[in-house]
């Protein structure tokens, strides 16, 4: 690496911060447009679901432990459990199933 690593880090940090802070600071008012409001209302659910599947299946040591963790999280989430119990149960299911499977 011949270039300065700190300038690399500065470039990354500046871009990362600007794309996050500009909408938050420039959009100060409540958006009135019904389409935009509906769009932004649906964005979180769609983007989280898109990021979760199929990525969760390939995140673990085996596809099967990934599936089991996924199903466990879906069931607990459906039951309305909080973030911590759902996340920890998914981890435990993956860990235990890999002890048996691998």
């Amino acid at each position: 690496m011949t270039r300065n690593p700190y300038i690399y880090i500065l470039c990354m940090a500046a871009v990362s911060y600007l794309i996050r802070v500009l909408p938050l600071t420039l959009i100060r008012k409540e958006i009135k447009n019904r389409f935009l409001r509906s769009f932004l209302y649906y964005v979180p659910y769609v983007t989280l679901a898109v990021m979760t599947f199929p990525a969760i299946i390939s995140a673990t040591g085996s596809v099967w432990s990934g599936w089991l963790g996924f199903i466990a999280a879906l069931l607990l989430g459906w039951m309305g459990k909080g973030l911590l119990p759902v996340a920890c149960t998914a981890c435990a299911v993956v860990f235990l199933s890999e002890l048996i499977l691998l």
Binding site: P5, Y6, I9, L24, F35, F39, P44, A49, T52, A59
Partner: protein, 236 residues
């Protein structure tokens, strides 16, 4: 709720985030070491960026000796979805929220912190998000630091198990509303199915994972907004 209670609530939700972050950024540290960064430099990059895919892509380019502009550009592309999330988050804040809290929250808009913040009832009080950041920021930065130092010492099984923590949290965010609202439930199913399609069919592989997430989010949310515009009281 007062500031202290909100901070504590955020910090509690920050525990699984910090744990998951530690595991994910640990592997990111290995990528940083391969790119020739020291543990301190990698930690600094993580502390200032808070983005897994963006950092991974940037480290890869740094390792290949790319130019500064190229590194900035790949960061922009890999992180573009945060622009969308910040737009959505701007509507979750009370319009009277001052500039400083907006600038602090903007520092750490990640998939996870966005997810838990948007899941708060009513308008978002910045103190909740501060509480989450209090654990998430060190979890992410320290994970990267130890990833560079310790490489592959952490047992593979442990890393494997911890890496689903973040997905578990996403699921905990979208499942309760999906149970209440049939449209959201249908959107979740459609989102997962198309995401699987994009990841599996080679035709779509010209798009990076970050771009695929943006394309699907925009298309599906826009279609839903056209077909099922929200009633005014839903937002509050």
């Amino acid at each position: 709720m007062n500031k202290r209670a909100l901070l504590a609530k955020g910090a509690r939700d920050g525990i699984p985030i910090a744990l998951g972050y530690f595991a994910v950024s640990f592997s990111l540290g290995i990528a940083a070491r391969n790119a020739g960064l020291t543990a301190f430099q990698a930690m600094l990059a993580s502390l200032l960026n808070n983005a897994s895919a963006g950092e991974h892509a940037a480290f890869t380019l740094i390792g290949a000796g790319a130019g500064y502009l190229e590194v900035a550009l790949i960061t922009l592309i890999a992180n573009a979805r945060y622009l969308l999330m910040s737009c959505a988050l701007s509507q979750k804040l009370d319009s009277s929220t001052p500039l400083l809290p907006r600038m602090i929250i903007g520092f750490d808009v990640t998939d996870e912190i966005f997810g838990v913040s948007i899941a708060q009832p009513g308008k978002l009080n910045p103190w909740y998000t501060y509480g989450v950041m209090l654990l998430a920021l060190p979890g992410w930065a320290l994970g990267t630091y130890f990833g560079v130092l310790l490489g592959n010492i952490l047992p593979v099984r442990l890393v494997s198990a911890l890496s689903v923590a973040l997905y578990g949290m996403f699921i905990a965010v979208f499942m309760p509303p999906a149970r209440q609202n049939k449209i959201i439930a249908a959107l979740v199913v459609i989102s997962m199915a198309t995401s699987w399609l994009f990841a599996t069919v080679e035709l779509f592989h010209f798009m990076s994972e970050g771009i695929r997430i943006i394309v699907l989010t925009v298309l599906i949310s826009a279609a839903a907004a056209l077909l099922f515009p929200i009633k005014e009281e839903v937002q509050e």
